[in-house]
Amino acid sequence: MALAVKTRKQGTPGAVHGQVGVDLRGVGHRFGRTTVLQDIDLTTGPGVFGLLGPNGAGKTTLLRILATVLKPAHGDVALLGRATKDAHDLREIRRRLGYLPQQFGFYPNFTVFEFIEYFALLKEMPPGKVRAAVATAIQRVGMEDRARSKMKSLSGGMLRRVGIAQAIVNEPELLLLDEPTVGLDPEQRVIFRRLLREMAETSAVFVSTHLVEDVAAACSEVMLMDAGRLIFHGTAQDLVELGRGDDALTGDSAIERGYGAVLARNRERR
């Protein structure tokens, strides 16, 4: 099977699958002289999209562009059916966005509830709905018993769950999670995958992870990045198929062998 990278260059960025999803055209970025992202074309609707790739592949940079933290050096970005060039549209996008960065900073003296409530207000949710929304988010990540605990008293896994809660508190239509399962125990990861699938019914969820099994279990589509390029976009099963029949490939699971196969073939081309 050939490497499958979906591209869509025609048309105007913005009209995307009934307003839910992303539309990237020729997106690239560089830090100084180092190119970290190049020629990314990507169109999605709702679903869970797993971002895989080695360190330095460009996953975090891509997520930061989708989160409107970084403005790409090249290309056009449309999120949730809106171009990101206009301040009014950008504000509207951000109201409907949820983001958990890789480096998750928190205010140590806030309680869990206060921390999530703070970001719910910054997301400009109606004040009258904030408390119930925060309680719902806390419940969805299973932190009810720590709702009034100080952030500084939480373990790494609990902090990650609070980070997920602040990301989903506004029921975002575009949810971006960078390494969300770091620190979660196996039981929490299973429940987290279920949460992802729930969110994907109405949202586009992008998950960057090194844990290939998370992608296989929860993601409707898989994207594999290497050296700033999107080198594979398909289903987890597509990725598994690419690893079949090559005994030289390493990996504990079929999808890991597929991951290795795509990376190896891409590097041979380069």
Partner: protein, 263 residues
């Protein structure tokens, strides 16, 4: 993580709930939200009306908690300033106030200063408005602490509160550098160096010309000196203010093309 609720009382059936036509999840979460949250205080209620934004009102009321270490440090330094001023008749309060405010402002908001800055940058609320609110909080706290220190120090005489203008100017210089370099440490450091240079410069000149070792801080913060320097301070405030706004994208494209900004 949970995907279930506490069980209902055994005598309540699904049919009963359906007849009530009540979204129990919503009701339950509303109750829990009320239980877990703190009531909105009078200051926040007033701020919501004044700022027309529940988000900025919350930024305002939580800012002191985010800079608590700075507030405590400022209070201690001002208290020491009062003691030293009483003992030596040297006007330390006007010298300390700009330096303390500059450090507080440099750490108010931005990369390296706000631990949740990465998330905050994805919020619809403008980062510039958050910065503005936090600077206001820093100035307000510094002004209150400085005013108390000045009022309980009779030795200051006519220079009481004359430090407000240099305080704002030095703070804006620190903020401009912190914004440019993305480092509150460097921004605060540069502000302190600038203020130290201004404080030291007349003394060095005096020492060079008159060959005397007497230190007179009063000369630096005298009424005539501050009035003489007022245009320079005002120009610095305006220039640094424009730079900070420009660097945050207030006037369209800027050099820091790595960010999106909101008006």
């Amino acid at each position: 993580m949970n995907d279930h609720r506490n069980p209902m009382p055994p005598d309540v059936t699904e049919e009963d709930l359906a007849m009530l036509d009540v979204d129990l999840d919503r009701v339950w979460n509303g109750v829990m939200g009320d239980v877990w949250s703190r009531p909105v205080g009078p200051v926040e209620k007033l701020a919501r009306k004044v700022l027309h934004s529940a988000a900025l009102a919350r930024v305002l009321v939580v800012s002191p908690a985010l800079i608590l270490a700075w507030i405590i440090a400022s209070a201690v330094v001002f208290a020491l300033g009062v003691v030293v001023t009483q003992a030596t008749s040297q006007p330390l309060i006007p010298l300390l106030a700009p330096a303390l405010a500059a450090v507080g402002v440099a750490y108010a908001y931005g990369a390296g200063a706000d631990v949740a800055y990465e998330i905050t940058r994805t919020m619809p609320v403008s980062g510039r408005m958050i910065l503005l609110v936090r600077i206001t909080v820093v100035f307000a706290i510094n002004t209150v602490l400085g005013a108390i220190a000045s009022l309980v120090t009779p030795a200051l005489g006519g220079v009481t509160l004359l430090w407000l203008l240099p305080m704002v100017a030095i703070s804006m210089i620190g903020l401009a550098v912190a914004t440019l370099l993305g480092s509150p440490v460097i921004g605060g450091g540069v502000a302190l160096l600038v203020w130290a240079g201004i404080v030291m410069q007349p003394m060095l000149e005096q020492r060079r010309e008159e060959r005397v070792m007497q230190i007179d801080f009063g000369q630096v913060v005298s009424e005539s000196t501050l009035q003489h320097q007022a245009p320079l301070w005002l120009a610095s405030i305006v220039a640094c203010g424009i730079f900070v706004m420009w660097n945050n994208g207030a006037f369209g494209a800027n050099q820091e093309d790595a960010r999106w900004h909101l008006r």
